[in-house]
Symmetry: C2
């Protein structure tokens, strides 16, 4: 059962052209512990430069990637208040106004609705592209191509999501079931599918027509606000109140925003809106997308030697295979990078930070959480 | 086949008393690569504080241990010229004159003969204790007791060696075959035995009467110089020349010493003299001796948790067993010690230095040499 090749997705189509640049809403609220000792509460995954071969933080990569569609003045970064400063520091080219600090975490629906309102106040018919800040894209032109086509659909009033061509029977992602084709390369989303078991994931891959849900959405601001009004009337009422506040007493914005979030349910945009939209559209693509979910994913994407080792250059590897070595303290304090010597070991992760060293089998990469939990129990808040 | 217990060595005897303090000749010429990344050419094993639970370098431990028998003014440290400064720095309580820099490495026989001559010039009948600088002794009173008895034998004109009670069928050491008992607790050495194979080592342990050769010798200076004259007449002639130089033109000492070493064969005291002495005496003892030959030996001697992990405190260990973690950069630069997190790994060595990190299975500890060889090939002399 070979995975479909990347080119199989391409279909004949007319090249779309946007009438104006789009807005980007980049979701950067995640904290995440799966990349300890790299990730910390105040330095979550999106602020790490862990994408193999890229010397930029994941969030900087997200902004850079979208730049051909969304110029800096049209980028909004939605993050937690406590991460706002660190996030702004990671994105020095963005204006201060680009950073939206959520008063409290309420999952993605309230946050996206809020950001969409802010955009709608400038231009109700603006096209908005929502992406995560902590994903990896191998084939950036393929992503941009799909987003351009999605934006063209959005301009016509559709809410569009990208469907990522699966390349393996992944059980860690949700899937989109592709429905009828509405025009070349554009399909209705028949339904959202929860993370499947291994058997089901295999059948999705062999049957075709199932795509990974990467949480990438494209819509016109006014269209989304109407959808919010349909599916989340309470939230819509609070949004309306915030709009009035901004028009009549803008100095009370923070207060009104806080009220909005306090009242909002903590719910994802998928559950609250997308799954309920009968005519959601999907553009299939294969941009080499990864959610970089663990050190295992970093190893998978990294360039490797013939023995499958992904290590800093100058490493000494003797009878070693399948290992991942990451040196987070590289280049610190003008010192020479550390040399890593691995002998007689297989499929290990060795992660070196200034204050911690992690060693575990790649197959246990998800268990990094347990370590952070241990540190928490010991009160070592300095370490996570 | 249980190993003989430590107490079985004790035999009835009269407590000896030395007529005067002994001299110590501490051999510190070794370079050794088996403790990389801790050991380096300019920081060999004896200059490392790797003895578990001891906060001193191995060589400082050797000097401290012998102090009840050999006061500082009677301690000679024989080391290479290139290590002389670093060695002196590690032993600040010793006078400058304690350090003998060998002009070139010629194994132990020339070096011991030379040091013995220096002592004989002060007191021909002085008792000399020769020990290595890089060994570990668990039961120091037991060692001192054996050395006192050996010194008493030496005063009577015997050359004496300590025989270490074997506690396992070790194939990495040479053995001494115990011969006839000359008086309680003192035996003739019947013969020296090369490193045995596993089968032979097992039979030594079960038959008894075989002891590890730890290279610890005790003799009177004049007696050793006579033995050198018997077995190494050429070296004896050069020693005689050096003696004359010291008496008539002491300013030419360096030159004469260099000539001595240049002419000397590179040969161990065991081969050159001890094995040829028909009446060599042996005192058996069980001082918890280890030559600390590798990281494996450090693990063996280290205090361990219930899962057999020997790690810095504050380590996070989840489903981890039998691991050794050593942080050589601990306490550096006033920083908090690094936290080591090991999850799902077994029987590994993780050694962290300022400029290198080593990961390998304990069972491969001897292969550290291969790593140093690799670094050598790459011209990374900064790292070994």
């Amino acid at each position: 059962m070979a995975a479909p090749s990347r080119t199989s997705v391409a279909t004949a189509r007319v090249e779309p052209r946007l009438t104006q640049p789009a807005y980007a809403v980049i979701l950067a609220g995640g904290s995440g512990t799966r990349f300890w000792p790299a990730s910390r509460q105040k330095r979550p995954k999106q602020l790490l430069a862990i994408a193999p071969g890229r010397d930029e933080t994941l969030i900087a990569g997200a902004v850079r990637r979208l730049a051909p569609l969304c110029p800096p003045e049209r980028v909004l970064i939605a993050t937690g208040q406590h991460l706002r400063a660190a996030t702004a520091q990671a994105l020095p080219t963005l204006p201060e106004s680009a950073f939206l600090g959520e008063p409290m975490p309420k999952n993605t629906a309230p946050c996206i609705a809020w950001a969409t309102l802010k955009i709608a106040l400038k231009d109700p018919r603006a096209v908005v592209i929502v992406v995560s800040s902590d994903q990896h894209i191998e084939d950036e032109p393929a992503l941009l191509d799909a987003l351009r086509r999605a934006a063209a659909q959005a301009e016509q009033g559709h809410i569009v999501t990208l469907g990522i061509q699966p390349t393996r029977p992944e059980t860690g992602y949700g899937y989109l079931k592709q429905g009828a084709e509405t025009e070349p390369g554009v399909h209705v989303v028949e339904r959202f599918v929860e993370k499947p078991d291994a058997e089901t994931a295999k059948s999705y891959l062999s049957r075709g027509g199932y795509f990974w849900n990467a949480g990438i959405f494209v819509f016109r601001a006014d269209v989304m606000l109407e959808a919010v009004a349909r599916h989340m009337p309470d939230l819509a009422a609070h949004l309306e109140e915030l709009r009035r506040t901004l028009e009549t007493a803008p100095e009370r914005e923070a207060q009104a925003t806080e009220a909005l979030f306090a009242a909002a349910p903590a719910i994802s945009i998928d559950y609250a809106i997308m799954e309920r939209e009968p005519d959601l559209r999907m553009i299939a693509c294969d941009p080499g997308w990864s959610d970089l979910g663990s050190w295992q994913a970093v190893w998978e994407l990294s360039p490797k030697d013939a023995q499958g080792n992904a290590t800093p250059k100058d490493s000494v590897l003797i009878d070693a295979s399948g290992n991942l070595v990451v040196d987070l303290s590289r280049g610190g304090e003008g010192k020479q990078p550390k040399v890593f010597a691995l002998l007689g070991v297989k499929d290990l992760c060795v992660i070196h930070a200034d204050d911690a060293v992690l060693v575990l089998p790649r197959s246990e990469a998800q268990a990094v959480r347990d370590i952070v939990e241990q540190l928490n129990k010991r009160g070592r808040k300095d370490l996570f």
